[in-house]
C-alpha cells in the first residue's frame, strides 16, 4: 500500500478514536450524516427496500456509537449479470455518459442505458470525475482465493469418486450443475456473479460507505481484484479501493468516502434549488442512486416511489 494512504489511515483511525461522533445535523449544509441520522435513514431503507437489513457483524469489531443490532446494512445475493466494461460500451453506443436530468419528473442520476439528451450538462450535476483520489494503484498483487500466489496454476483440487451419491441418478432432482442464468445464447458464464452489498457508517467522513463482496457463478468467494471488473472503469482502483471491512473479516472492495459529503451536498443543493426540501431519512436512497454510477451492473435495490422530499411549492 502507498505510504501516503497508510499514514492517512493511521491519522483517520486516531481522529476517529479521539473525536465524538457527530450529533448535530449538517445534512443540508455539508451533505454529511450524524450517527442518529444514519440510523434513521437506514431504518427507512430497510422498511422501503426489505432486501436490506441491519446486521451486527463481528462482535469484536462493534462500534460503541452504534446500537449492537444496527452496526451496518447489508443486502445479499444481488445479481450482477454483466461486466461493467460491457455496460460502458453499450452505454457509449447509446449516446453517452453521466447524468440525465429531467425537469418533469425530478429524474435523478440516470440509470445506465439512457442516451444523453442535451439538457444534462448545464446543470453541472456532480460528476464522479471529481472524486478521483489517486492515480496510484493501491492494490496489492493479485492472487486468487482458490490458490495462493506461489502455487501452481491449477490449485490442487481434491477429486473424488462418488458412486453412492444418489442425487445424480435421482429422477426427482433437477440435473444441472450450478444454474447459469437461463436466457439463451449468451455464453458469458461470469454473468451470474452475485454480490453482497453493505453500507457502513464512516465516522471520519461522517457519511455512509459502500462495500462489495463478490461471489462467482458457482458461489465461491471472488477475489476483490476481480470485483473491480464490475466497477465503472473510471473508478476502478481510484475511488474504488480494497480495504478491511469495518465489521466483517477479510478484504473487500469499497467506494472510498472522501468525497461523498461533497457529492451529496451538490445533490441536495440541486434539489433545494428546485424547491424540493430534502428529508434526511431519504439520504440513503439518494446515496445509493449515486453509487449506482460507480457500480452500474450490480442490481441492488434502492427503488421506492419517491418524491425526494416535500415540495415547498
Amino acid at each position: 500500500m502507498v505510504l501516503k494512504d497508510k499514514l492517512h489511515g493511521v491519522f483517520k483511525g486516531t481522529v476517529e478514536r479521539m473525536t465524538n461522533p457527530r450529533t448535530v445535523s449538517a445534512f443540508k449544509e455539508k451533505g454529511v450524516l450524524s450517527v442518529n441520522e444514519f440510523l434513521l435513514a437506514g431504518d427507512n431503507l430497510v422498511s422501503k427496500c426489505p432486501t436490506w437489513s441491519w446486521e451486527s457483524g463481528e462482535p469484536s469489531k462493534r462500534k460503541s456509537y452504534l446500537p449492537a443490532e444496527k452496526q451496518f446494512l447489508i443486502t445479499r445475493n444481488v445479481p450482477c449479470m454483466r461486466r461493467a466494461s460491457a455496460v460502458e460500451e453499450e452505454y457509449e453506443a447509446a449516446g453517452g455518459e453521466v447524468l440525465v436530468d429531467d425537469d418533469d419528473n425530478d429524474g435523478w442520476l440516470a440509470t445506465h442505458g439512457k442516451p444523453k439528451d442535451g439538457k444534462s450538462e448545464e446543470e453541472n450535476l456532480p460528476s464522479m470525475e471529481t472524486l478521483e483520489i489517486s492515480k496510484k494503484n493501491t492494490i496489492q498483487s493479485f492472487s486468487s482465493h482458490f490458490g495462493g500466489e506461489e502455487e501452481e496454476d491449477i490449485p490442487d483440487m481434491e477429486e473424488y469418486e462418488d458412486p453412492d451419491n444418489l442425487i445424480e441418478t435421482d429422477p426427482a432432482t433437477l440435473q444441472s450443475s450450478y444454474l447459469v442464468a437461463h436466457e439463451p445464447d449468451d455464453d458469458n458464464i461470469l454473468r451470474t456473479r452475485t454480490y453482497d452489498v453493505s453500507i457502513t457508517y464512516d465516522k471520519y467522513y461522517q457519511t455512509p460507505r459502500v462495500w462489495l463482496t463478490g461471489y462467482d457463478e458457482s458461489r465461491m468467494l471472488l477475489h476483490p481484484e476481480l470485483v473491480l471488473e464490475d466497477v465503472s472503469q473510471d473508478h476502478a482502483r481510484k475511488t474504488v479501493t480494497i480495504e478491511d471491512h469495518p465489521h466483517l473479516p477479510g478484504k473487500h472492495a469499497s467506494v472510498h468516502p472522501c468525497r461523498h459529503g461533497d457529492v451529496m451536498k451538490k445533490i441536495i443543493d440541486v434539489l433545494m434549488s428546485r424547491g424540493v426540501e430534502p428529508e434526511v431519512d431519504k439520504y440513503l436512497f439518494l446515496f445509493l442512486k449515486f453509487v449506482a454510477s460507480v457500480i452500474p451492473t450490480i442490481e441492488y435495490d434502492y427503488t421506492m416511489d419517491f418524491d425526494l422530499g416535500s415540495s415547498s411549492t
Binding site: P50, E158, A172, Y215
Partner: protein
Amino acid sequence: MAGQDNGPLLQFSPFQSAVDEGFWHRLSDMKLNHLGLDESPIPITGFYAPCSHSQVSNRLTLLGESLPSEPSAHSSNSPFSSGNRNKCSIPGVLYNTNTLESFKALDKQSLLEAEAKKIWEDIHSGRVEQESSLLSRFLLISFADLKQWKFYYRFAFPALKLDPPATIASLEPASQCFSLQEAESLTVACNEWRNSSTTADVPFFLVSIDSNSHASIRHLKDWEVCRSDGHKQCLFGFYDPCHLPNNPGWPLRNFIAFICSRWNLQKIRFFCYREHRGFADLGLSLVGEALISVSQEWKHCKHIPKAVGWEVYEGNKGKKVFRCITLANSMDPTKLAVTAA
C-alpha cells in the same frame, strides 16, 4: 419410471450453498483455541430467504454467526437474530476432521442417512409442526488446513425420497391461478407474514382462501382449523429459494414427504413463494399440484425412506471436486504482516 402415467415427474432444483469468509475465520479460531483435536459434530445454523431476483436463486448462506458463540455443548440454541426476514435459520451439523485423509474417508452415505432420519423422526413426532425449519436440516463436512489456510468442504441437503416419485398435474405462475381479488388478498397476506417479526423467518406455512376470495396464512400446526373450516382452497406454501419458472426449489421435497406421511394426502397443491425486491411477487411465485402414490409404509415411523442430497460441484474439466477455498491473504499472519508493512 413408475407413475409417469399421471404426468411428468416433479423435479426439484437443488439447494445452493454459499459460505461467507467470516465462517472460516470463526471456525479457525474455534479450532485453534477451543476444539483442538476434538472431532465431535458441531451444531451450526444456515440462513436463507425466498428468491428475490428473477435471475438468481437464493442460497443457503453460512456466516460467522452460524457457528456457536460458546464452544460449550449447550450452545446449540444460541440466540441468533430471530425475525430477520432475510435470514431464516435452518439447523445444520458440521463434521470437521483433523486430516484431509479422514475428511475423504468420511462415510458420507451414513452421515446423510443420519440427518434424514432426524428429519423423518421430527415429521412423525410432530416437532415439524412447531418448528418447520427442521424440514430443511443440512450437513457440512470440512477439513480446515490451518497451515495453508485452506478449507475443503462439501454440503448435503438431505431429501427424503418418495417411492414412486411425485408427479405433477399442473405448475404455473401463481398470478395465473387466482382471481384478481384472490391474488391481491394473497399478496397482502404474504407481505404481512413477511413483515411481522414473529413469522418473517417461518419458511413453511398454510395458505387458505375462503369463498369471499380472502386469503390468510397460518402456521402448520393450524392444519386442522384450515381443513375443517370449509375453505375453498388450501395450499401448502414455502419460501422458495429457486428462481426457475418450471421447477420448485429443494425445500418442497421434504415438505411433500411431511404432508403425505403426516396428513395422508395424495394430491398436494403447493405454493412456491418468491419475491421481487423484497415484496411478494405472484408472477415469479408458482402454484402447482403434485400427485403422490406412496405405499402404506409411509405412515410408519419405523420405515425410514431413502435419502439423497450431497451437493455436486464440478471443477476444471468437469471432474467432481470438493469445494476448496484458500484464505491465506486474510488469515496468514505472515501475509497480513507484509500487507500491513
